[in-house]
């Protein structure tokens, strides 16, 4: 470390993986900024971020209820039938005494994704109307913390593996829930990829400056 305190760059950005200071450059959507020192992805600008995120998060919220609560498939065997939904399967796990597993599954598949979508909706709405009516800096912070812990797309792969495990054992009817769930995963993925975190934070900062 140098003993001389260097003058910080006026518009410096700092890599969160290796702490190197870099000049802030204007990047057009479609490009990705990588850190020259450690190779981590620094920033991916998105076009029309606010509108698209708003649209996709509303789509995802509409699909959320049917995807989680309606049966995803029905199994027919021995003249009996049995169907399961995403939330129903987790509750059944809870009833069998697997409290820890079911609570983690419920949080990561249902609660956190729902919160993330609601937070995205509120933040995007707030930025769109240029009003800080939801305390969006706090909401945006919550969104950042939940990022790592919401994994409905893993459940999607889980459904596929389950189908492959049982399709030769019995007749499967695919129900509304499955199609809604696929749509939900697509909408969630689109919403979180069109969300430009840096743009959002800068917009929030501008909003805070305006209010002061």
């Amino acid at each position: 470390m140098s003993s001389v305190k260097r003058r910080p760059l006026i518009q410096a950005i700092v890599c969160d993986s290796c702490d190197v200071m870099l000049e802030d450059i204007d990047v057009k959507p479609g490009h990705t900024v990588f850190c020259p020192r450690c190779g981590s992805k620094l920033y991916v600008p998105r076009a029309d971020s606010c509108n698209r995120t708003l649209a996709f998060s509303i789509t995802a919220l509409i699909l959320f209820y049917p995807a989680m609560v309606m049966p995803i498939m029905t199994l027919y065997t021995f003249g009996m039938e049995q169907s399961a939904s995403v939330v129903g399967s987790i509750f059944k796990l809870f009833d069998k005494g697997y409290v820890f597993v079911s609570v983690i599954a419920l949080l990561t598949v249902f609660v956190f994704p729902l919160f993330r979508l609601l937070l995205l909706l509120c933040v995007s709405l707030g930025l769109k109307c240029r009003k800080d009516f939801f305390r969006i800096s706090f909401l945006m912070r919550c969104y950042h913390y939940l990022d790592e812990w919401s994994m409905p797309e893993v459940y999607m792969l889980g459904i596929l593996v389950t189908i492959i495990k049982i399709y030769h054992l019995a007749y499967i009817r695919y129900d509304t829930g499955l199609f809604c769930f696929v749509g939900l995963i697509l909408a969630i993925t689109c919403a979180s990829t069109t969300m430009d975190e840096r743009f959002y934070w800068n917009a929030i900062e501008k909003l805070q400056m305006g209010n002061r």
Partner: protein, 215 residues
Amino acid sequence: MTGAEHNSTVARGEIDPDTAISAGLALCHVCKKVLPFEEQGELFCPRCGARVHLRKTDSMARTWAFLITAAILLFPANLLPIMRVNHFGVYESSTILDGIIYFFQNGSYGIGLIILVASILVPAFKIVGIGMVLLSVHFRWQSWSRHKTLMFRGIEFVGRWSMLDIFVVALLQAIVDFAPLTSVEVGPGARYFTGVVLFTLFATVSFDLRLIWDT
């Protein structure tokens, strides 16, 4: 692809580049705002309200603790049955490995490979990988920093997919429920496996990548 242009006076990969810490700056972890930092007192980010640290608190100790917990849990997770299949009153227990062998014997190599990667290779790779990074920080090995950073980024990305097996079992036990003829029950291994995934995720969250680069 455009790389962010680095200050041209410092060559790429040198030991003493322009780090924020040497300039008295700290990065807000949540909103990535660059703030002047003094040693005394607490600093809260004016933009997002999160507490700002130069480095994550007790990063090494916490990551070691989570990692060792995950490594211990890995044994019961793989040795105990994760699933029990009841077929006309006859119970057959199967561990994660049994499930993979079942797929390979039936010729479903693709799906067998997915579960092998998600359930066995990813947790093992995560624990070994994070362990290597921690050891290198502990003994101040300076080489391969770029590779270590990228490997850690990779570990962060794949970590969540280990939950796959838990979700498969959760769905199977709900839908294959034709007791007493045939049913699928969860085995005690599922608890430990969830623990492994949870603690490896905690370990990646608590580790501060910049420690690799600090001399």
